[in-house]
């Protein structure tokens, strides 16, 4: 098995939107970046891969298992969503105690290190933290249970440039470890250009391009320009 995630003929239809992904793969060791305008289907694709949303049709395999709706699998997957909602009455320390009782492989030492290096206030309750600090807490949780796959949905939004750089460093370091992979969506194209090894463009529920970042950069010079160009071309 070379891929952490494999998607085949995936379909999901809503009243005003449908997603169709004929083929999609995230190889081990890679950081796959998802780019697309609002409503392109990035979050839907992440929800389908995590088994949070049921597909109408198609096959999804995550870390070698096609039983994505079995929650046990989430012990090996760390997720940060853009609407991060941990318990608002808990401090970072208490959140760690809670997660230790939820995840099978919780690493309290690693969590403590991340809380310190990401400079997260330890005694402030989650609901009183800034958006950036809430994201950092969620990220620390996602990276502290020995996950093999990280799924980040707009996780770097709300972070200041310095912290964003640090977080991108953690993500690339995570992906380099054997048997690991990352899927991250972001509107900050420069982040994807910096951290990703592969880029997938989604537009109105369709994958219009999925290639290694270096090949795209060689051909087009900048991912941001390519994104704007493709979005414009498809819209016109």
């Amino acid at each position: 098995m070379m891929n952490a995630v494999e998607v085949h003929e995936l379909k999901k239809a809503y009243a005003h939107f449908d997603l169709y992904v004929p083929e999609f793969r995230i190889p081990y060791g890679s950081v796959m970046g998802l780019i697309g305008e609002n409503g392109a289907g990035k979050t839907t694709l992440i929800r389908l891969i995590c088994g949070v949303t049921k597909a109408d049709q198609g096959e999804i395999s995550v870390l070698g298992t096609d039983r994505v709706r079995v929650r046990e699998l989430m012990n090996d997957v760390g997720v940060v969503t853009d609407e991060e909602s941990l318990v608002p009455y808990m401090t970072a320390k208490e959140t760690g105690v809670m997660m230790a009782g939820i995840y099978r492989n919780w690493d309290a030492e690693r969590y403590g290190q991340l809380i310190q290096t990401l400079n997260i206030p330890q005694e402030t309750r989650f609901g009183e933290l800034s958006r950036g600090n809430r994201m950092k807490t969620a990220l620390a949780c996602a990276m502290s249970h020995n996950a093999k796959l990280l799924m980040l949905d707009e996780a770097t939004g709300g972070l200041d440039p310095l912290v964003r750089d640090h977080v991108l460093g953690l993500i690339t370091e995570f992906a380099r470890q054997e048997g690991h992979a990352v899927l991250m969506s972001s509107h900050i194209v420069s982040d994807l250009e910096k951290a990703c090894t592969d880029i997938t463009f989604l537009h109105q529920g369709r994958v219009i391009l999925s290639q290694p970042r270096d090949a795209l950069l060689k051909k087009h010079g900048s991912i941001e320009e390519l994104f704007l160009e493709m979005a414009e071309r498809k819209t016109v």
Binding site: K54, E72, T81, E83, V87, Y89, M98, Y103, G127
Partner: protein
Amino acid sequence: MKGLLYKDGIVLIRKFRSYLPMYVLFVGMGGLMPDGMFWAVYGVMFTATMVSSLMADEENTGWNDTAPYLPLSSRTLVSEKYIVSLLCIVGFIVVYIAAAMIGGKPVSEIGMGLISIIMTAQIIFLISLPTTILFGVQKSGMIRLIVTAVMVFFGVVILQGGRGFLDMLSGRENMMYVLLAAVTVLYFLSWYISIVLKERKTLNQ
């Protein structure tokens, strides 16, 4: 499961702390006072809505959007709430017995009081938990209506009965045991139904 129980413990202490002294006060008064059955059952009715409040809070704070990304099955999520409800019942029993012993109540009266408390709590839980799972908090006005109706019914019966309520029960212990057994079966049935409802809801997302 351990993590969820810890979470709910923190939420109870931080968000719903007013429930706890009321819980001890009303159920304790019920145990202490000679005609205190009304207070005990009222305290139970009031406090038993706490578990639905925990579920409402999970919906309002967005925890329900986070939980699906954690290694938690529908069975675990639902069972944890039922375990909290069982802990509530154990708490009612402990507080009531302690207060009744201080108040010097006869054992037979304590027994009948306990049966009333356990049945009231179970009825509220078996109605409110599956309906909150099925309809969600926003649409669950009907649940509150049903729970209120149950509370009013019990309240009126006990208020009208007063001491007579317990007298009415005396000599009919067997009927009370049968009723308690029936309500307990319904309570565990609602546990199973709640898991099925949650699984179906999750599957259709």
